[in-house]
Amino acid sequence: MNYSIRRQTLLKPTWVAACGLALAMLAGPAVAEDFPTAAVNTSGLAVTDKTVTVGILHSATGTMAISETGSIQAEKLAIAQINEMGGVLGRKIEVIQEDGASDWPTFAEKSKKLLENDKVAAVFGCWTSASRKAALPVFEKDNGLLFYPTFYEGLEQSKNVFYTGQEATQQILAGLDWIAKEKKAKTYYLIGSDYIWPRTSMKIARKHIEQHLGGKVVGEEYIALGDTQFGSVINKIKLKKPDVIYAAVVGGSNVAWFKQLNAAGLNAKKQSLLTISVTEDEVLGIGGENLEGFYSAMKYFQSLKNANNEGFVAAFKKAYGDKAVIGDVTQAAYLGPWLWKAAVERAKSFDVDKAVVALPGYELTTAPEGYVKVDPNHHLWSKLRIGQWRKDGQADLVYESDLIAPDPFPKGYQ
């Protein structure tokens, strides 16, 4: 692993991420006087001589709070760190947090409130595709700016959104290539929850397995969201004896799936399993003993060894307690405020129209996941990593791909 900022390991880990960005961006912190408000804000956003207001819009209540809490924490941490460094264009960031309450129309309403009443310069938020799809028309109509953290199914690109997680092909293709080679896998069993993300992902996975890997899909199964009984499905898998189970089960079902899989005798000693829906956050609920030896394909694992990440993990734990864990999406959410800062500073303006065109091409070298680059299609170039779960809930890195270009509308996979 060749990280260009190795020299920074001499610094205190907590400061590494912050200092790194400062070094990369500017010689010293910007002062507000250099950027008069009238010049940096021509579109009536909530920007004063001292402050700039942004929004955070996630579910702090309801079913999705399980997943979205980590994103809220990461975004607040990044904003606090940016403020410590002097803010953006010399202005402190102030946050208005709204609760989407796991309800998609609420996301649209709150987006409208943040954009039209509060005039926020950017929003960090949404988690499920459903909430993003609900909020998207509002962002496009009011010309807002959204940083969306979750890995998702792709098939979307908007002027008003930057996607800091992976789109489906980035997460799926390299992972399948790896396991096909590593386990000499010929037969695959696909299983996911029954909604758009797993279904789109499995469609891509099936095409890739059949057309590029010469493998065979021996079963494809979708579980109703919230279903907790897997007895029959597991028996079907046992009958088919696939070389690899490829899983994208989410939520409470995910916990039940792994607990029952293990209890049915299908553990890593007997069965290879690659999942795209388990991060460190999910492991808390599933229990490390039920995952031990299975693989996850993600762009980030908490256990990544590089100076950026060590600084990030230390800062996160300092802010949220020693037991806090960081999953893939949490890290992607952490990138949002940093990317927005970069966009504004490159544009020398808070105006959405200017910031949006300034960001593509930007290279963020201080990301905990390592180097990322913003593509003109508003997604990030990133690496895919395969982690093998340990009993203690952390993953050992077993594979790392080269940088993968984002391709939200993959030809031949739709």
Binding site: S232, V233, G265, G285
Partner: protein
């Protein structure tokens, strides 16, 4: 199925039979508490799932203690007892503060208990965090039991089955073989008359409600072995619980058992031969059709109206 050997097919039949029975005991355990409350008192307890979550969180907390004192292998039984006691007393309090004021307005109990379920979810979230947690389980509850090569019987399934049996027999003995149960049945059949012969029907209601909640707590504790524990865990169970109770016929213990068995077998078999979601759809359709033909459920009770 000619691509498989006879032995493979045999193994699958055994394991599939077991998973049907296992689903049966899960559904039964889920529904028993609700059946007692709904069947005996006519109260629609929408917070049933949250009482299960109380049991689950109790188990998680106990497991933390167990890890600290290094008694992971034996704590689970105590966790179940603690889950029962805690859920029982919370149920007792809820009846006193909320439910007893609404007996004459049965539809309002639905709204009130639904509100209660939201309140409880938020309490879990504030107290234990929004993320899911898991209990440290004893070694003997993990993994599978292999009678022969090729057959795996999940141990947690056997455990849930045994517990469902114990609870069902317990409820039966309480309801049909004890003085307290006699008072409950008398109150259900004719509340005014029961009061006239000196039964404290208010006390009976309170105990019945608390008992139903306590059993929900036991179910929640047991389900930590097979599913998740989080603030909204309860909502995963509430629909299935109601389905079992309504399909069985509201006021009948036998009906609940028969209904849990029927639904479990149908679902388990259909999900094996169809896709999982289609299996569920087919099961629900069957239930709807049967309920249209027999609106009172499988076992209609003879209650004086």
């Amino acid at each position: 199925m000619f691509e498989y050997t006879m032995e493979e097919v045999g193994n699958i039949v055994v394991m599939q039979g077991f998973s049907g029975l296992s689903l049966f005991s899960v559904l039964l355990l889920m529904a028993l508490g609700l059946a007692i409350i709904f069947g005996q008192m006519g109260v629609i307890n929408m917070a049933h799932g949250e009482f299960m979550a109380v049991g689950a969180y109790t188990t998680v907390m106990m497991s933390k203690l167990a890890v600290a004192y290094d008694i992971v292998n034996s704590y689970f039984v105590f966790a179940i007892i603690a889950a029962f006691i805690l859920a029982f007393w919370i149920g007792y309090g809820v009846e006193f503060l909320l439910i007893r004021h609404l007996y004459k307005r049965p539809l309002d109990t639905l709204l009130a208990t639904w509100g209660l379920s939201l309140v409880m979810q938020q309490i879990f979230r504030s107290a234990f965090g929004a993320k899911e947690v898991s209990a440290e389980l004893p070694e003997w509850l993990l993994g599978s039991f292999q009678p022969t090569e090729g057959i795996d019987i999940p141990i947690n399934g056997v455990f849930v089955m045994a517990l469902a049996l114990v609870v069902t027999v317990g409820v039966y003995l309480y309801m049909f073989r004890s003085r307290a149960g006699l008072r409950v049945r008398a109150t259900v059949q004719n509340r005014v008359m029961a009061g006239a012969v000196g039964i404290n029907t208010k006390q009976v209601d309170r105990l019945t409600f608390a008992l139903g909640c306590g059993i929900a707590g036991v179910a929640g504790a047991a389900f930590t072995t097979i599913a998740s524990t989080g603030p909204t865990t309860g909502s995963l169970y509430i629909v299935d619980s109601f389905m079992v109770v309504v399909f069985g016929g509201a006021a009948s213990l036998m009906g609940t058992i028969a209904s849990a068995f029927g639904i479990a077998q149908a679902q388990s078999i259909l999900q094996f031969f169809m896709t999982s979601s289609m299996g569920k759809v087919a099961t629900l359709m069957t239930i709807v059709v049967i309920l249209m033909l027999k609106p009172e459920g499988l076992f209609a009770s003879k209650v004086r109206k």
